[in-house]
């Protein structure tokens, strides 16, 4: 691993300045992805700004929303009583990710900023526009069974690997950010970007901007929720495809409101707004779910090795909605 300078500021502004004024510097929190990438030479920061001394670990149960500090651990959030009661979908998605050890290290901010697990991004002997812009995309004509079916470009077909983020985009979360130019809020759906011509940019964050918290607004989705993750072993693997589903049902089993998002299909957590609209006002039946799944998959396009996602997608949506609807 390359040598680097290590600094451990105790003030948020000092941390932000340290990264903003040095293009080779980066924040480190849990390190579960960054240390991995540094060992492989995929990322080679010259300076690490350890933010673990900043007071960003709190989970505040405010009226109308939960404010989850960026440094709250994945395990802490998943086990938090308020989170489980008010946003059970978030807890399910968190527990579907990684392992117990990694959830004890990984932070909420770091989870949403983790890099793709595309094997061409990870292999420094392969071309990758995300790792080294202009070298080409190895996955486009390579082994692309894990790759995107929505929103890709000819520069990059990688997918975002976070489970938590799929729930957060479905729940209309807002990311609180602090940077050299002050504070701002980013709707979760606008935090991650599509690859376009700049796949090296995963997010819309500016240099030096630090995620300080994520706000999750209260909603009616406290009972009929499910996070369905499909992977190649029962636990501790990245998603081939995942679905976050949340329903609000009236006493006649009619869908009053619905949220639906997919993971493992695009460069960002993929919210399925049109499919949500196809659910509202309809009875919570398999037929309704099937119609919504058809809407959800419109525009999907497969590559050589991931055509299975075109069938796995709707099947997983239907399964997630059925499980959510029957959740007691």
């Amino acid at each position: 691993m390359n040598q680097f300078q290590y600094v451990r500021p105790t003030k948020q502004q000092a941390a932000i300045e340290a990264v903003a004024k040095d293009a080779t510097a980066t924040f480190i929190a849990g390190g579960t992805n960054l240390v991995d990438l540094m060992k492989r030479g995929v990322m080679t920061p010259q300076k690490l700004v350890d933010i673990n001394r900043l007071p960003l670990t709190r989970i505040d149960a405010d009226p109308g929303k939960l404010r989850i500090g960026a440094l709250a651990l994945n395990s802490t959030v998943a086990d938090d009583k308020q989170v489980r009661a008010r946003q059970p979908l978030l807890a399910l998605a968190l527990n579907a990710g990684a392992s117990a050890q990694l959830r004890n290290m990984a932070t909420v901010g770091g989870n949403m900023l983790q890099r793709t697990r595309c094997s061409y991004f990870y292999d420094t002997t392969m071309p990758c526009n995300k790792r080294e812009p202009g070298t080409g995309c190895g996955a486009l004509e390579g082994i692309n069974r894990m790759h995107a079916i929505f929103g890709f470009s000819d520069k990059c077909i990688a997918v975002h690997p976070s489970d938590m983020s799929v729930a957060l985009v479905a729940l209309d979360a807002t990311v609180q950010v602090s940077g050299p130019k002050g504070n701002r809020s980013i709707p979760f759906a606008e935090l991650h970007r599509l690859p376009g011509d700049m796949p090296q940019k995963d997010t819309t964050l500016e240099p030096g901007e630090l995620i300080t918290a994520v706000d999750v607004p209260d909603g009616p989705f406290t009972k009929h929720v499910h996070y369905q993750k499909v992977r190649e072993r029962a636990s501790y693997a990245f998603a081939l495809l995942s679905v976050a589903a949340a329903l609000d049902l009236d006493s006649n089993n009619i869908i009053k409101a619905a949220r639906l998002a997919m993971g493992g299909v695009a460069h960002k957590p993929w919210r399925l707004t049109a499919a949500e609209q196809a659910l509202v006002g309809k009875p919570a039946t398999e037929e309704t779910f099937r119609q919504a799944a058809t809407v959800a998959m419109q525009g999907a396009k497969a590559f050589k090795h991931n055509a299975y996602k075109l069938q796995l997608g709707p099947n997983t949506i239907i399964q997630a909605l059925k499980t959510a609807a029957s959740a007691a």
Binding site: V7, T10, N52, S75, S99, A100
Partner: protein
């Protein structure tokens, strides 16, 4: 790891560069009034760290306090094995995919390969060497022996550290829950059934772990 880590020539160059940086800082510090230096280091903790290539580190491992000086890129796993000669904690994949390196930091199980040692300033680390009470094995160690919870034994220290944490976290109420919350520990010999049996026995025994 990176080959340059072991190359004699580059090691020499690094040492020389390190010496130059350190000596110029020491000169600078000698010229600056004491209170100013203290104020700067209290504010950022970074004035010193940014220049020295080794960083002072205080931590407690298995009840023993250590004052060390480490390169920032040293992982907690390498610190335990190479600097403190605690080789019970194993290096399996070194990428957070196998769990062989599992230790407890302030009571929480973590992958020691995926964190830098300097990030654990002031923390209490427990490794497999710190689990037994003198010659008396920890109940989980006894249970792994009784149930044959291993074959080659390489993943075992990580399995045991993880298993103890799994019970402490309250995630060992059923076989399904144990399998899910132990999924971060891979056993290539496939001793999973026996590992689950060992954990269930300790959990069922109601002993304090």
């Amino acid at each position: 790891m990176n080959p340059e880590h072991d190359t004699p020539g580059s090691a020499h160059d690094e040492a020389r560069r390190s010496f130059l940086k350190q000596s110029s800082l020491l000169t600078a510090m000698a010229l600056v009034p004491g209170p100013l230096v203290q104020a700067a280091s209290a504010e950022l903790d970074e004035k010193v760290a940014a220049v020295f290539e080794k960083i002072p580190l205080k931590l407690e491992v298995n009840g023993i306090k250590h004052k060390l000086s480490v390169e920032p890129r040293t992982t907690l796993l390498d610190l335990l094995r190479e600097n403190l000669n605690l080789t019970g904690t194993k290096k399996g994949c070194d990428y957070g995919q196998c769990g062989a390196c599992t230790v407890h930091v302030d009571g929480q199980r973590v992958n020691s390969c995926l964190s830098f040692a300097v990030m654990h300033e002031g923390k209490k680390i427990t490794t497999i060497e710190g689990l037994a009470d003198g010659d008396k094995l920890h109940p989980m160690q006894e249970a792994f022996i009784k149930h044959d919870g291993f074959q080659c034994g390489y993943c075992t220290p990580g399995q045991i550290m993880s298993a103890v944490a799994c019970i402490r976290e309250g995630k060992a109420d059923s076989e399904g829950e144990i399998r899910e919350y132990m999924s971060g520990n891979i056993c290539r010999c496939g001793a999973y059934s026996n590992i689950v049996a060992a954990i269930q026995e300790v959990k069922g025994g109601g002993q304090k772990v």
